[in-house]
């Protein structure tokens, strides 16, 4: 298995606080990899550090064989890696039309065939041409998340970093977005790294997962282990019990 993404001893600190403490991770080419862990354990920080939105002071990051450090990422990186954030309200500029939002990355990366690409991107996420000139504040949460995904896919990346892409959405829209992501992954042979606090979602979407706690990866297991309850970290067990719902006690 060749690695799409390889992280060694990554450290991210805010002032004195270690948000990531020597994290190691390998995600294979075409793999769908899940990250779970308690709030504040560093899941978003990890994706942000890969994307160059947070700086890592120590360790190495290799993406498709190229090494990156700190916060600097070249254009090639963004052609390879794109990120979709949790919050469908905050992640798109509200005063821009869908057209502008999709055009921007194409212009930055010097694409000339913008027309067919925008049409195809909208089509791929199940939104018709009628949405093209709407402002993002005129869209529902699910529609915005579709646009965010279209914007990430339009540069034809190889790796998608997904930070809780459906946790702000209701069950029916979540199912639509998860189906859309799976379809895109199949069609384009994408690699996913997906953060979610819903073990049901992770087990549905991913082949392996890492469990994080206090800035560290405490365990990496195949998703099948959730079904068979074959894992060692206590925290994984707690997560599993918790995912079964509230118990008065």
């Amino acid at each position: 298995m060749t690695s799409a993404l390889s992280i060694r001893d990554m450290v991210v600190t805010y002032d004195e606080f270690k948000a990531l403490n020597r994290v190691n991770l390998d995600v294979g080419q075409g793999e769908s990899f899940g990250i779970v862990g308690e709030s504040g354990s560093g899941k978003s920080t990890l994706l942000r550090a890969v994307a160059g939105l947070a700086s890592f002071e120590e360790g190495t990051l290799t993406v498709n064989g190229r090494a990156y450090s700190g916060r600097s990422r070249d254009k090639q990186f963004y052609r390879t890696v794109q990120m979709v954030f949790q919050d469908p309200y905050g992640s798109l500029h509200p005063r821009q039309t869908v057209d502008r939002l999709l055009l921007e990355p194409l212009v930055i990366h010097g694409f000339t065939d913008v027309e067919p690409r925008i049409t195809r991107a909208l089509d791929e996420v199940g939104l018709g041409a009628g949405f093209r000139f709407r402002y993002s504040h005129q869209l529902s949460g699910g529609q915005r998340q579709r646009i965010a995904i279209a914007r990430a896919l339009i540069l034809e990346p190889k790796i998608l970093l997904l930070d809780e892409p459906t946790s702000a959405l209701d069950a029916s829209i979540q199912a639509e977005i998860l189906n859309l992501l799976e379809q895109a992954r199949r069609d384009r042979n994408l690699t996913f790294v997906m953060v979610s606090h819903d073990l049901g979602v992770i087990s549905h979407m991913c082949e392996r997962l890492a469990v994080m706690k206090g800035g560290e990866v405490v365990e990496t297991v195949p998703a099948k282990a959730l079904e068979k309850r074959e894992f060692s970290a206590d925290y994984t067990r707690q997560l599993l019990v918790a995912s079964e719902g509230f118990r008065r006690g």
Binding site: Y14, F17, V36, G37, E38, S39, G40, S41, S44, Q86, D87, Y89, G90, S140, G141, G142, E164, S167, A168, L169, D170, A171, S172, I173, Q174, A175, E176, L178, N179, E182, Q183, H197, D198, L199, G200, V201, S203, H204, M205, L226, E227, Y235, Q238, L239, L240, A242, S243, E244, G245, F246, R247, R248
Partner: protein, 281 residues
């Protein structure tokens, strides 16, 4: 568990309408329910009117919207005729709402700790040092690991789940009689989610608080609440004791339950809702 005596809250035929350039948007269309010292869940898809129902009860509807109701009463107060200043006095102290998006409800230029302290001081006569102690205790109660550190952080410096808990701490610090929690745990990982629910649960059972729990998470609601209202297109389409959620009759409720991914079930693609126009009648 239904409680006896006069209900804490009575809502009869509540309607919330927004005028827009393209005509009226009827966000809430005739919602009725009453609430005792219990946990009432409201579920339904995005845009079904859950938040607008909660906001109308709180008096937080945008001013250009029109609200009507046959009755809207909290304790002995008629909320429809109450003066604005009185309503404000009620808010925060006796009724509180945890808003859906903590990022928009926390003040970005004030530290988390300061915001909780200020909330407490607007509603109670307390010294700054006592307010600080209570704020720290509240942050600890909502399972913030390092309350001292988080007390001095600004909202953009905390994770999604920490911001949500800070918001919860702010709403609970005055000990309200009625709490409306709008998706209060959607950004929390499941273990913390359960801890926060445990806190809300205690407030209901020990302090007799009434709780309206708004969520799109059906599994969570059915395990936590006493009964559930299912909303679709501004109306309540079904009301159920939580334990009976699995036997829901309305095709919408059944559809929602069916599209959840679960561990071990291998359904690719997931079933999606086939919305019927008659559901919205």
């Amino acid at each position: 568990m239904r409680t006896s005596g006069a209900p804490l809250l009575t809502v009869e035929d509540l309607r919330v309408t927004f005028p827009t350039r393209t005509g009226e948007v009827q966000a809430v269309r005739g919602v009725s329910f009453s609430l005792g010292k219990e946990r009432l869940g409201i579920v339904g898809e995005s845009g079904s009117g859950k938040s607008q129902t909660g906001r109308a009860i709180m008096g937080l509807t945008p001013s250009h919207a029109k609200i009507t109701a046959r009755k809207l009463a909290f304790g002995g107060h008629d909320l429809l005729t109450m003066r604005k200043a009185e309503r404000r006095g009620l808010r925060g102290r006796q009724v509180a709402m945890i808003l859906q998006d903590p990022k928009y409800s926390l003040n970005p230029v004030m530290t988390i700790g300061r915001q909780i302290v200020e909330t407490l001081k607007t509603h109670e006569k307390v010294s700054t040092s006592e307010a600080k102690q209570r704020a720290l205790a509240m942050l600890e109660a909502v399972q913030i690991r390092d309350p001292q550190r988080v007390f001095d952080l600004y909202p953009h410096e905390v994770s999604g789940g920490m911001g949500q808990r800070a918001m919860i701490a702010m709403m609970l610090v005055c000990g309200p009689d009625l709490l409306i929690a709008d998706e209060p745990t959607s950004a929390l990982d499941v273990t913390v989610q359960l801890e926060v629910l445990g806190i809300l649960d205690k407030l209901v059972s020990e302090r007799g608080m009434g709780l309206i729990f708004i969520s799109h998470d059906l599994r969570l609601v059915s395990s936590f609440c006493d009964r559930v209202l299912v909303m679709y297109a501004g109306r309540i389409v079904e009301e159920l004791p939580s334990a009976d959620l699995a036997n829901a009759q309305h095709p919408y409720t059944r559809g929602l339950l069916n599209c959840l991914p679960t561990i071990g079930s291998d359904r690719h693609p997931l079933p999606v809702l086939d919305r019927k126009p008659e559901w919205a009648l």
